[in-house]
Symmetry: D2
Subunit: 365 residues, 4 copies
């Protein structure tokens, strides 16, 4: 059934396959009056672009975003913002060896069972290319959040066995792996060289932080802020785990060590004293920085032969040809940031109605 | 805004606070014809019931479920199933010390910011008591799945530093900690004794497995099966992390080791050969067992004094009185199972019809 | 599939059949802080109660509403409000003659085709009894709207051939037919006597007006305010037509006569000069009174024999026994009012986010 | 908030303004395997195209639809179908006189109140141009329904005082007013000449019939089939009333005359004997032809001066320049047909599966 939309108020619908004419997103529910041009969105897409380094494919995806609707004189009008990205690189020549074989680690088998029919070129809807549409929509969300002082930043925390051991925000955009630690970035690069030599690939961990958080975002039961974030981030193809704050480490912690007390800061604002909870308590933001991490699996398309079956169940070997990144993590960094921003924008807009006095103030009644 | 519903086809809405008259769930979209009585649901609730052991509170929550609508002559009619559980233990006497103090590790502060107003008795909607409604609804989902040969089972994987090292399915229901390893269960019990002595509490990990999975469940983009599961499980109050299959371990794995190849089994059925993916590839089930884990934080209500503030920002100490479990995990086991079942039932029906026989015909089961 | 919920922000889910234990509604998304007690809701239900006059059945439906959750100390908390109404009159004795015969004008046949199974006692979910849950939820919506100066009032415009020719708001609650014209009410009563004598029934028209409308409510495309109202009102069982403002009369009008010009009133407020549009232009409220009408079909349960078939297709006669109103209109008046209020409350709460400045004001940023 | 999507399973999202770069629709949830090319969709759009006759504007809207995603080798893949229509005629020259004046009968004032900001060129999202996207999506719905033997046809029932008095299906496509009665079409043409001479405009009534209906479509409470149809059709800009079957005439009818009895036809199929209900009873289809009518208001843009105000509240006269149809009805015929088809496709799939063959199997068609 329909499953290409996310968000309740700030609602994003994506469409498009890797080998169709174009991909795109419709952002419905963005408030009127937000300054928004193609130049505002493009830098976000550029961060996802392939060919940025040795570790990302060199396909010529120019990924120019076009705003097809929803703005007038450089500002949003409150109506749906249609974002379009043409597909430029559509030579379908080399898919003959995979069109009827199920690639290990890919959704091919599930798609065939579900739909009985599949666009086998490049993974179709499950392709990483679909995430470009998420990034375009996420850019709108990020720009909206910035109007309220909320800034979302994601970066690479680890690649294979190499984890960051220092944090320099400036460094993130300086190395092709988006790591906030130059030394770790060099070690990770060496690790990826080794993976490539071995026709193998690597996984990693992405971390995302939102500063300037407004307390009170999120709803108490199924639409908890962390629940919505978990869905949004887990919906990124290669993600296999999501955690908030101390995440899985809480399992071995104690109430005394894990509880975040409160104090009043110098401005008289109530603030959490520590941040084991990652900025969310009981599904509602508490004003501390939002902290989220996710695990990204190794690129499933590897050049060495693998065992699989054909559509008819014949057992065969498969060799994935073509250019494939040895690691998904760096290009997924901005996707994680985008999904986080989309959820926060939705929670921000949903939150305006919680309290009768807030509503009265909004309506001047 | 409204955030108390989950599911698109099999849609569950919960209501109720720990200290109101009752709590309940409305299950809308369950197919007609499913055999369903109160006796079918009660055992699921009994597994969540407090007072089962030294490690769960002894509050007298009888938790008797009543079916108020949606069945006729012992079968569902396709109309909303209203499930009601009266609250029996509502003495509000001992909340004076917390009514205007924000408990560390609880949603009190977020609630006050969001709603400007809060039922301070027992946590309101954020109370663990709300999960009884989820379990009642989850029982319906589990019973529906069983009609298709899908069985969902959750259990305790670790408590504090104690992890299971063997797996005996029969053992799960035999010890009060719901661990499939009797030796680990004894060690964990000793660990909890220590926590209680120290007026402290412990976290843990819950694992959930679904066998008999039908391939093709889940939608390819935002409503991926793992994304919907992540939301559902993260929406349980104390959960801080969710992972599928190898989860966070994929970050340090390689494509070669992590990819699940395919083979044809003795019945001519295409099957994944390994199961690093936990039964889901690209958001769609592949027929392997579904495997999911989540991290549960230590009980935030501990008997030792903690630093916090009042509603007015005055810095104070708080002592949580009353009976509180030293660990949330055992009672959350059936809640994790319930949320998993609800998501699976929804995904199953998302490709199907109003009538159980039609569904069976469509799925050939 | 699930179809028992309405509203996006102010979200109402109803459950229950005429012959189950109870019926109810869950109102999710009502802002915190609204004063609300059972005594506030009960008068709305009393207006729907049968046995008010010769023309409504004398079944003993006491229809006492209980608030099971969502309020604390007499005000809403922002969490789901569960409203429960026990079914008191459940003697099932006289359904033997209809259990396997499809009543003309009822949903029996459709239900059997759809679900393959049906609670034949009293119409199940299609029973007029389900509307009591709508009225309870609608009362909450009405009380919320009153906080913003919006008042919704429905009344009977015609019964059979008898139409009102004057309008006295006070009169509405004075006669059992809820007509704002005492003379017409007497004529309509005489008409209904005739219908009863002939073992026949009558239709009619209900009109609903909302004063104090805030301009800017409604969304421009599919969730136009009039579109949402049309769904809500058409979803009342016996309604076969809905119109806004001049409604079907616009077909024979001209642009010159139908257009509503604008002027500035004594307070400097821009106002529509006429109101052919019924308070809605292009799906968005314009500040004029909302005017809506709907056509209600004659009670299908009539005492004279009718031709129909059994479940097995055998052609038979059916005689509907028991007490049935000769007209649905009077009891449906408060239901129309309720559905209108629910849609307006939802549009009001959805509307707070349209404009970035409004949001900033709400958040004080 | 977001309001640009309709449908639960077959979900349509439209975007675009009359004077942006393009308009479009995303159809999410269409089953895989449906034959679909641009040539299949184009004829539907051509019926909406202006410049077809003296009574429709001669703007050069070529309205060529492009399928940007969701098909492969001429069949749908189950993924979102993105439909794009470039805007070709965007000279914005003559909007100076209306940019700060509220046109009577248009949504200008509501938009400004709601969004504080508006694309004043050509009505923006409220423009009739948005309906081209609905027609493109509706074509997909119609083609899907045809696979199940359901055919949807709309036509003009009346224009101003001229109503059809005979019905010839072939005639509908032969005259520019889409009337099934050639004599009435001529009379209506004369009436429109008169309107144009007087710088005035006319309203009318559109009727829509679906044959081959499957019984059991629709859900019993808020998502009744007629309720969803009422929303869908009322969401067309100029529609002010919707009715099903006998519609408003039921108000003056009796139970005896209005009830549709049942019989068994020559194939042993249970069928309604009459069709006052328009194919829907209690919100569920009964297998009789679906019959729906709506009232369309006169074109609000008329050439004669009208009284209105500016954004600042100054009372002024406004003269609408440019080419405007004297009647909206003929171009709206295919829009009504499209909205009806979208709702029927959604209701059909609400009980069914991802794959066209599975659906056929479930429905035995």
């Amino acid at each position: 059934m329909a499953g290409s939309s996310i968000g309740r108020i700030f609602k994003v619908t994506t469409w498009g396959e890797s080998h169709g004419r174009a991909i795109g997103a419709v952002v419905d529910g963005c408030p009127a009056g937000l300054p928004l041009t193609e130049e505002d969105i493009q830098p976000y897409l550029d961060r996802r672009k392939p060919g940025q380094s040795r570790y990302t494919t060199k396909r010529n995806e120019s990924d120019r975003v076009q705003i097809m609707s929803g703005t007038f004189e450089g500002r949003t009008t409150g109506t749906p913002i249609s974002l379009l990205i043409m597909n430029s690189d559509q030579h379908s020549a080399d898919y003959s060896n995979i069109m009827d074989r199920y690639r290990p680690g890919h959704a091919d088998f599930g798609f065939d069972v579900k739909y009985g029919f599949r666009d086998y070129r490049g993974g179709g809807r499950s392709s990483g290319r679909e995430t470009a549409a998420r990034v375009a929509a996420g850019a709108v969300a990020s720009l909206l959040l910035q109007q309220f002082g909320i800034h979302v930043t994601a970066y690479t925390k680890s690649i294979g066995p190499v984890e960051i051991s220092s944090f320099d925000r400036e460094e993130i955009q300086k190395n092709p792996l988006y790591m906030p630690d130059a030394v770790a970035a060099e070690k990770a690069a060496a690790w990826l060289e080794k993976c490539m030599t071995e026709k193998n690939s690597s996984g990693g961990v992405i971390e995302c932080v939102a500063t300037g958080m407004i307390p009170g975002l999120g709803d108490p039961v199924f639409d908890k802020l962390d629940a919505d974030l978990a869905q949004a981030v887990m919906s990124i193809g290669a993600v296999k785990g999501v955690e908030i704050g101390d995440g899985f480490r809480v399992a071995a912690s104690s109430g005394k060590d894990n509880n975040d007390g409160f104090h009043t800061d110098e401005n008289g604002q109530i603030r959490p004293t520590t941040n084991h909870g990652g900025g969310i308590l009981g599904g509602i933001s508490d004003g501390a920085d939002l902290i989220l991490r996710c695990a990204v699996k190794p690129t499933p398309s590897i050049a060495q032969p693998q065992k699989t079956v054909t559509r008819d169940g014949e057992e065969v070997e498969i060799e994935i040809r073509g250019r494939h990144d040895p690691v998904i993590v760096p290009r997924a960094v901005v996707v994680v940031e985008s999904m986080t921003a989309i959820v926060l924008a939705d929670a921000l807009l949903a939150g305006t109605t919680a309290n009768l006095d807030q509503i009265r103030r909004a309506w001047n009644r």
